[in-house]
């Protein structure tokens, strides 16, 4: 292999950002110059700051937005890049692993060395077809690749292999349910197209900004670009659209959908127009949002900004431009103004044959599709679960599978949902684990629910057992036996325990019988303690009351 060493490139800030005087402020600007360029390095800084402020700002912007928005309508469309989790890159046999040392997963092909040629990874087509079907798209039986040409140091060939006029999938839609806390509601948003393309490398900028280094690890990694119709009207809708896409790609197993790693990147186009006007307003593109909540806030901020300009009669100040979301300032700001359309000089990629799909291939993929989030939600709804439960369970494929398996084992749906959303979810959150990493099996959860339901154990004991099961595994039955946790339901046994406690506390008994009836709680506690928590509480109380009164 060639010696892998890249020269540093010295870059003039003004050249890269002719319109931006902010360039010196931070490295973010460099990174996000192109839609597909990584933001990872700089995103990390923002995350923590953002979280603290998140809530207060959310509510604040929400109020102002409602106020501002009256009489105006926002039109939102989203371009999403999804990085595919194929074993190898799109056109060569290099692996790609996020976070590996710069320039270690590269070869002459993804470096664009003279004489090298791309060969299509068939998994890319398979994944594109999967997503196309999942998004209810029409598939192009004959599609082709095109070259999108521009110069940038992270683009080794001087062109990106993409699809231009014949994308692999078009005209689809996505169904989703808005979160209950945002008012809920079902939405369907149109999908304009899905196309396959390759990712570019990354530029690592020096602290001083005087030079940059090229990392080509990511060059040639397959992406699907999903373009939505301009169907969204608010930050919440847009954020939920992105969240549903994330769910879909995770359900399908085509991507890890991780926004922080840049596996799911959204560029949002927003315009505002007076309600009732048919013509669209000038659209502004926003980039650099690394979470759904950031998307929500960035969009609502941008809508307010544009509505305000409209109100003040300064709508001419809304210009076609790319703005970046600044998480620290909770504002969008100009990155670059567009001076006419860039001419990418697309033409058909002569190194790759056409992509021809056959019906059997598509049918086979269609049959292999898992149950998708929308279908799952509708099914859960029919089980009688609340929308909040439905959304929670269907959000994560693994959680949904766990739930389904528990119900299959006979667990009551509502009870299973409660356990999963309550104690199990809390544990997972605290321990930062996923549901498939814990030792509790769906079968044991259903057993646990059954044992509580039939009174073998109390709910309190059930909880204790649950944590035991989660961390150590085992079966409910053996734990109950091993720890002798079976609830005492024999009235005679409980009666004996009560007698014992009453005998041991003559003073209190006297006080009780003297009218201090509050002491019943004390006796109940003592009996429960004596039974090691196993006495059936209802029975205990009944017998205790009887015995307390019997003697008077």
């Amino acid at each position: 292999m060639a010696l892998i060493y890249f020269r540093c490139i010295r870059m003039n800030h003004l050249f890269l950002h002719p319109s931006s005087p902010f360039t010196k402020k931070s490295g973010v600007l460099f990174c996000t110059l192109q839609a597909s360029h990584a933001q990872v390095a700089t995103q990390v800084n923002f995350q923590n700051q953002g979280k603290q402020k998140e809530k207060s700002i959310q509510t604040a912007t929400k109020k102002t937005l409602e106020h501002h928005k009256h009489g105006y309508e926002a039109i939102i469309g989203i371009e999403t890049h999804v990085q595919l989790s194929t074993l190898t890159k799109a056109f060569c046999s290099c692996p790609y692993l996020y976070g590996t040392r710069p320039n270690t997963t590269i070869c002459p092909i993804c470096m664009g060395l003279p004489g090298t040629l791309p060969v299509l990874n068939s998994k890319v087509v398979e994944f594109a077809v999967k997503l196309g079907l999942a998004l209810n798209c029409e598939l192009s039986m004959n599609s082709k690749f095109d070259r999108k040409q521009y110069f940038y140091p992270d683009l080794p060939k001087g062109y990106q292999i993409s699809q231009f006029d014949v994308p692999i999938a078009t005209k689809g839609f996505i169904d989703l349910d808005l979160p209950v806390e945002f008012g809920g509601g079902h939405r369907r948003f149109g999908i304009t197209r899905i196309h396959m393309e390759e990712d570019a490398g990354k530029l690592l900028h020096s602290e001083t900004g005087s030079y940059s280094q090229v990392d080509l690890n990511r060059a040639g990694v397959p992406l699907l670009e999903i373009v939505s119709e301009p169907d969204m009207r608010s930050g919440v809708e847009a954020a939920e659209y992105a969240a549903e896409l994330q769910r879909l790609v995770r359900y399908l197993g085509v991507s890890n959908g991780n926004m922080q790693e840049g596996s799911l990147r959204c560029d949002v186009n927003i315009s505002v127009r007076p309600t009732g006007q048919s013509q669209f307003g000038t659209k502004v593109e926003i980039k650099n949002m690394n979470s759904f909540s950031a998307m929500n806030r960035a969009i609502d901020y941008e809508i307010s900004r544009q509505v305000l300009l409209h109100r003040e009669g300064q709508s001419d100040q809304i210009v076609q431009e790319t703005r970046l979301w600044d998480e620290a300032a909770q504002k969008t700001f100009t990155m670059r103004k567009k001076e006419g359309l860039a001419d990418y000089r697309y033409f058909p990629e002569p190194d790759l044959p056409e992509v021809v799909l056959v019906k059997e291939y598509i049918d086979e993929i269609r049959q292999s599709l898992p149950e998708l989030p929308e279908a799952k939600r509708r099914r859960y709804e029919k089980l009688g679960l609340s929308m909040q439960d439905v959304l929670f369970l269907a959000n994560d494929n693994n959680v949904a599978d766990f739930f389904d398996a528990a119900v299959e084992n006979g667990a009551d749906a509502k009870l299973a949902a409660n356990w999963i959303m309550g104690d199990i979810a809390a544990y997972l959150k605290n321990e930062r684990r996923t549901i498939d990493e814990i030792k509790l099996t769906p079968k044991e959860l259903s057993e646990l629910i059954a044992f509580i339901k039939n009174g073998t154990i109390s709910g309190k004991i059930g909880k204790e057992i649950l944590f035991e099961l989660i961390s150590k595994g085992g079966t409910v039955k053996s734990l109950i036996e091993e720890k002798d946790l079976v609830q005492i339901v024999d009235p005679a046994t409980i009666g004996a325990l009560v007698d014992k406690v009453l005998a041991a506390n003559p003073k209190q008994l006297q006080q009780y019988r003297g009218g201090k009836t509050k002491l019943q709680g004390f006796f109940a506690g003592q009996v429960m303690k004596e039974s090691k928590g196993k006495a059936n509480p209802m029975l205990l109380n009944k017998i205790l009351t009887e015995k307390l009164h019997a003697g008077s």
Binding site: I9, N12, F15, G115, L117, S122, L341, R345, D351
Partner: protein, 589 residues
Amino acid sequence: MYSIRVSPPGPHRFAFFAGPKPSLCGERVSARRSAMPSPIQNPRFLLYHRCLPLHFPPNPFPFPPNPRRLLHRSTAALSPQPAPAPQTLTSAVPPSSEILSIRESLLSRRKTAAEIAAEYLDRLRRTEQQLRSFLHVSETAMREAEEVDGLVESGAELGPLTGVLVAVKDNICTADMPSTGGSRILGSYRPAFDATAVKRLREAGAIIVGKTNLDEFGMGSTTESSGFQVTTNPWDVSRVPGGSSGGSAAAVSARQCVVSLGSDTGGSVRQPASFCGVVGMKPTYGRVSRFGLMAYASSLDVIGCFGSSVVDAAILLSAISGHDRLDATSSKHEVSDYASQLVSLDHLESKPLKGLRVGVIRETIGEGVDLGVMSSVQAAASHLEQLGSIVTEVSLPSFSLGLPAYYILASSEASSNLSRYDGVRYGYQATADELSSLYGDSRANGLGPEVKLRILMGTYALSAGYYDAYYKRAQQVRTLVRKSFKDALDKNDILISPAAPSAAYKIGEKTNDPLAMYAGDIMTVNVNLAGLPALVVPCGFVEGGPAGLPVGLQMIGAAFHEGKLLRVGHIFEQTLQNHRFIPPLLAET
């Protein structure tokens, strides 16, 4: 189940459909001029108006009188007289395979590989000062030859190219030698890998003797556009060897190597073969892997072969052909052992080509073509006829459209393919303190004028608003060209034409007239547009230089019919009387 069906490479890859068929070339020049609406609006490309009225003159088709079968009306005498004296006087031994004779020498222990290599390397050094056909000569060739001798000693099985010195055009990557593509921008570049063709050569036992000169990235027809040096023609060192594979052609002609690899995008193997009097084979698009060939125009580029005999070209082609998983456009079409199908002279019947239908492309014989070239080709046609084939004239109506379409498509693809030479990762890097000047200066200083011209043309043709008028239109023409070849090849087994409108011209003669130089590609570009195989065999001489200048006959076949072309070419070559294609430079040394 593997269900991604991928359309076959070659002729069907571009599914552009022609609109209403434009009225193509009429019978007469004047009619053509007025009736034909120019499909290409850029006057730069209106070459055929100026210099390519290649139709037959209305009357004489000056084939020599033929006792058996009069081809055309004409009984006119040959004019002018072809072939100056010297060659006709030398003993007319038909060319024999150097590869087979090397193999014979090694197997019979008559000569060692080291002796053979020394012989070639010695000749290479003696002639190189005048020819300048190599950009780099291997330092390990002698050692490799000694290793071959060890292999021979050990009695191991020898590959078909064992001990054969092969020169490789410098736009084909070699891991152990620089590969510059003839460009200053890759002046210091050494690839990390061997091209698939080179890898296969090595596997067949070949010794890569060096890297040959070319027009920068294959863009040119004379090898004068090389970023490094001008190669001369062994037949007359004041003339060009043709291009862009001029170095590879000259090296074989002067026997600086046994055989060589070239690349052919618009004629870059066939035209220099013709100029240098050697055999040149341009295979079907996709027959040979392009992996490791520096892309000029990806949909047209093929790696081709040079040899001093058809057998050598056939052996070389067999060695490098076949599907390659590193090239998605390479074909899975079966590769036959081309050389084994070539019958030796002794076994030839009196009419070995009996029944072979040969079409002379009408548009390639006529005005714009040197008279000497024309008569050589006509003599060749007559020779084929004597061998039993049925020679008729065939018209390719879209022929003249091919040249402008070719230059649009090739330039468009080149503008894209050459984007990677940006000074960032490898090759020449200008000193610059900001990105735009890094790009600008690296490319301005690293690339030569012809390359820049074509990048500009291609960028223009692909620009928004021009794409439909140029690139898309040219693709439509390409579909037409393909169709007219298909029609002609349905009626004929092979088509013939000159390989170039003239023999080798003087160095510098056309450097200031790029259009005249582009026009010289008229004979060959259509074949690339159609993706077909074509073989050029020396067929005669015209006056010029100390010993006359060779003329090549181009034979064009249907896709993947290389075997047929080689069989016909071999019989033609073995039965050609009174010509010996040994350049004077070689005779002197």
